[in-house]
């Protein structure tokens, strides 16, 4: 049986192979998505982001168990950074995600970001499409540990959870920009530690002062994922946000935004692909790099020259 037929048949090995192809095989990626994309769009997408060591994997693990108690099937994508020097990666999120290892309705996949900026891998949205098309009810995406930027997760999630710890306190000011703005739910994890209450109230103040585009103001929750404390409240808030999205076309608006962002990302991907191809065919890029280095031409003008030389995007 061919791979996609096995996938549609519910074969988990086929799901794994499909995700690998979406990650590695630029030539066939688009062909696979032709088949899978129309089947996706049904799953609830929850993004979890926050600084390294905040407890994203542990939270994902606990959340997964809770979702399973509700009978919802779960797919998790956990992203860790690729070394820009060796191209290798140590993917350790699975270490803390073994609560449902023997549950066939839970699928956990580790992904290296392959030096893609933004906190996710270029292939993360594609892997989400695969899990969605496979029939998972909920998809949890866990970003690499991030600070102030790396906000891609909000462009692929219906609900974004920003996870902080009491130790994140000093950086609240910086976090007002960026990370704070993508939060639909704010979680102070490791709330058993000193300073958690004060930090949570400070966060609440920041939220109250902020201007929020929509009429959903992110709740601030205190959680200790390790001890399963506060998880019920988080679960309720995630449901509440789900209900909020379902009303008044909010979800439609988000999906539209996701679609636009996906196209923009794909455009970038195509351009980079064309550029790589071109580099193999001729030496324009090398030649222009030398001229830029000698200050004979400035980079923007060089880029324009390359762009003008490309015959459109079709191919």
């Amino acid at each position: 049986m061919k791979l996609l037929d096995r996938f549609l048949d519910g074969d988990r090995i086929a799901l794994s192979r499909v995700i690998t192809l979406l990650e590695n095989d630029r030539d066939r990626r688009s062909e696979i998505l032709d088949s899978l994309y129309p089947l996706s769009g049904k799953a609830r997408r929850i993004g979890i982001t926050g600084p390294p060591g905040a407890g994203k994997s542990t939270l994902s693990d606990r959340l997964t168990s809770q979702l399973r108690k509700d009978g919802r099937t779960v797919g998790v994508i956990a992203v860790d950074p690729t070394s820009p020097f060796s191209g290798g990666a140590l993917l350790g999120d699975r270490l803390r995600m073994q609560g449902s290892w023997d549950d066939p309705e839970v699928y956990v996949r580790s992904q290296a970001d392959r030096s893609h900026a933004g906190g996710l891998s270029e292939a993360t949205p594609h892997a989400m499409t695969a899990l969605d098309a496979f029939g998972k009810d909920v998809i949890i995406v866990e970003t690499v540990g991030v600070g102030q930027s790396a906000l891609d997760v909000s462009e692929v999630s219906d609900t974004t959870v920003v996870l902080l710890t009491p130790e994140s306190g000093d950086s609240v000011q910086a976090m007002k920009a960026g990370l704070m703005e993508i939060a639909d739910v704010l979680v102070v994890n490791k709330a058993d530690r000193e300073g958690a209450d004060r930090f949570a109230s400070e966060l609440k103040m920041v939220v109250d002062m902020g201007r929020w585009e929509e009429d959903w103001k992110p709740p601030v929750l205190r959680v200790s994922a390790r001890d399963d404390t506060g998880m019920d409240a988080l679960y309720e808030q995630l449901d509440a946000h789900g209900d909020y999205l379902a009303g008044e076309g909010h979800l439609g608006k988000r999906r539209l935004r996701q679609g636009r962002s996906a196209i923009e990302k794909a455009l970038g991907e195509l351009w980079r692909g064309r550029l790589t191809e071109r580099r193999e065919r001729d030496d324009t890029l090398d030649r222009l790099s030398e001229r830029v280095a000698r200050r004979e031409i400035q980079p923007l003008a060089a880029a324009r020259e390359i762009m003008d030389g490309m015959d459109g995007l079709s191919n």
Binding site: L3, T20, T82, S86, G88, R109
Partner: protein
Amino acid sequence: MAENIRVLVAKPGLDGHDRGAKVVASALRDAGMEVIYTGLRQTPEMIVEAAIQEDVDVVALSILSGAHMTIFPRVMNLLREKGVHHMLLTGGGIIPRTDAEELAALGVGTLFGPGTSTRDIIAYIQEEVDRRRVEDEI
């Protein structure tokens, strides 16, 4: 040469000596591989489940407890039962040569003992993955 090689490094059994596994995991990462590290006290069932979900090319087990004649065959059988045939099952630990030969007859790859250079392990994995990778018909 095969790119984006994925390796599952796991430590089955009850002994807590994971230094070797960590050293190998780091070396493979530095060789450009994507290493999924699942840590201590993994059962064969957990290992095979993780290997399938992560679609790894290689399952590498560190066994120092003497349980290698139980664990390697069990993992090998589980992989086959689930229909996984392309993955390389390899590993390291204190494993007598006669045992390693017996395991090789079951389809287990080369097992590396103390004092092995990580360079040899890397070269072995690269060669095996080059040979084993299959192109799926979509």
